[in-house]
């Protein structure tokens, strides 16, 4: 039996979150209709906390690389370190890319680095899959495999706790009274759930014919100059940028300067979206991506051509958020199918 597995009851876990709330900002997922949202841990709303289920609506980057981060001048709100519980495999796997962008290269982003270093990330296994889930096609799984400090696997009224880092171990050691050792039977129950949800995702992938990373390799490059194909993909795009903003691997940002009321000359790092017309435009008026289809193509090029080339990584975790967020019903899986097959197969419902 691996010694890094424990178990904790749901009640004890919430007591622990309550105690941790003094020193930490503790965020957990709440059910709201069919969706899950991260919000501050509130013992009064314990019944709505869902530490299982599927991915939350907010991508995990919202907490480490927030939509608007003050990076210069004016005072920052003094805030406690973050504990984010309930993070799914399709979000955690995005750290390979976010860390690459913000921590590696010649220059580290110190704001990202601080947020990343201070946060305790607690993963959870998915307990079911949705039709838009395709993590397995993107070399992922419906349970955390990497980039978590602790992981919770929901088993009836308790959780199996896996310890992955020293940060996670310290938390267990400090609150050892809440945790019992897990036994092989617990691990077996966890693995049965993992296999069941993985099979569910595989089933969704098979039914739609969703392409995997092996099939996608080279597909963007091969079709790059088929303008009509890209125009077809972009025909219902309203360039709202939702696909960019909800995407756990999208990392682009702009720098925004403003004078505050107190006359601080602030600078912010704010999420940007490559679907916006002005994204690559320069002051002189030149714009390498004047047309909407070029901007949609750019999104796919960045994810399925650029990052495979520079990082050997397909920059999609299969979370499915962009599919759910798109008001134009553009389905990334269908675009990839179109690219691999070299033609645009309109989905059956159109």
């Amino acid at each position: 039996m691996p010694t890094n597995h424990y178990k904790i009851t749901r009640k004890d876990l919430f007591d622990l979150f309550g105690r941790l709330s003094d020193a930490y900002k503790v965020f957990v997922p709440y059910a709201k209709g069919e969706r899950l949202y991260f919000d501050k841990f509130d013992p009064a709303k314990e019944d709505l906390i869902e530490l299982g289920g599927i991915k939350q609506s907010q991508p995990v980057k919202s907490f480490i690389n927030p939509p608007r981060e003050k990076i210069l001048n004016g005072p920052k709100k003094d805030s406690k370190p973050l504990i984010l519980a309930g993070v799914k495999g399709c979000d955690l796997s995005s750290f390979i890319l976010q860390d690459f962008v913000f921590l590696q290269g010649d220059t580290e982003d110190p704001f990202y680095a601080t947020n990343r270093k201070n946060a305790i990330l607690i993963g959870t296994d998915c307990t079911y899959a949705k039709e838009t889930c395709f993590c397995v096609a993107m070399e992922g799984a419906p349970y955390p495999q990497k980039y978590f400090d602790l992981n919770l696997s929901s088993i009836t009224d308790y959780f199996i706790v896996e310890v992955a880092t020293d940060k996670g171990k310290a938390l267990i050691d400090n609150f050892r009274m809440f945790f019992k050792n897990a036994n092989p039977q617990d691990i077996k129950l966890r693995d049965i759930n993992r296999d069941r949800v993985t099979a569910q995702v595989r089933d969704f992938i098979a039914r739609r014919g969703t392409k995997d990373t092996v099939q996608i390799k080279g597909a963007v490059e091969k079709n790059y100059n088929l303008t009509a194909l890209w125009q077809d993909f972009a025909s219902t795009c309203v360039e709202c940028g939702a696909c960019n903003l909800v995407c756990p691997t999208c990392h682009c940002f702009l720098l925004f300067d403003e004078k505050s009321k107190e006359d601080f000359k602030n600078r912010y790092r704010i999420w940007d979206a490559c679907l916006y017309k002005t994204f690559a435009k320069v002051a002189g008026g030149a714009n390498p991506r004047k047309h909407l289809y070029e901007r949609l193509r750019n999104r796919f090029e960045k994810k399925f051509d650029f990052f495979p080339k520079v990082l050997n990584y397909f920059a999609c975790t299969g979370c499915g958020r962009c599919i759910e967020a798109c008001p134009g019903d553009i389905d990334l899986r269908e675009v990839l199918k179109g690219l691999v097959d070299g033609k645009w197969n309109k989905p059956p419902n159109e």
Partner: protein, 275 residues
Amino acid sequence: MNEMKNPYAYTEAEILNVVDETANIKTFTIRPKEAIVFRAGQFMDLTLPGIGEAPFTPSSNHNVKATLDFTIMSAGRVTKLLHQAKKGDTVGVRGPYGLGYPLDKFRSKEVFIVGGGVGLAPLRALLYALFNEADQYKKIILKYGARTPKDIVYKVEIDSWRAKAKHVETEITTDIGDESWNGNVGLVTTILKKESVDVNNAVAIVCGPPIMMKFVTFKLLDIGFKDSDIHLSMEKNMSCGIGKCGHCRIGPYYACKDGPVFTYDKIKDLPNIWD
């Protein structure tokens, strides 16, 4: 947070001098509180604190450490406001970013420089860098085109450049002439002649508006330059300067850290490079 390590932070700089080059181009000489060391062709971000910033390549000699020149056309939100800045005002500056011109690859060759409009700004820094060690280069040739005689930048200086060394040649043309102009009239491509350069032992360096860069490149190929000997300034929408914000990507490169100067062989197959 250690402010020194903040890559988005700027150093304050005093504007020491402002020269009106043309109706919409000014050269600012600034003195940063802490000297910034750069190589010709690298760029920096100039900030109007609390308003915004924009990327520019210094136009001064990189051997001068205490001050920096920036030649700036009023084109967008930040540059319009920069043009209102006066001697004594404070701006912010951060950088340098990018790789700069690979001078080691230019040595012992004829350096064939083609500029258009305000694109002469980074080339002025390059020219000064070449003049610093003029005997290292076989020839230094400048071909410069401006829209009209009134649009020529560094008017006072250009003539003096020819006197820097015996093997310096300069030639200017304007797209449209006027009564004051006795020089060449025609696009810059009309003064790029096979006879004026030994293409087998030369490098070409081009900076100017996108449409000019495109036709100059085609002309250079036409007179026999190799793809890998044509150095192009691809000044995209460089924002962060450190390869993170995503704006200036060209194919597998970020202009801010892998450029902004690229040889044509590296980018010729990438889409929309001239837009």
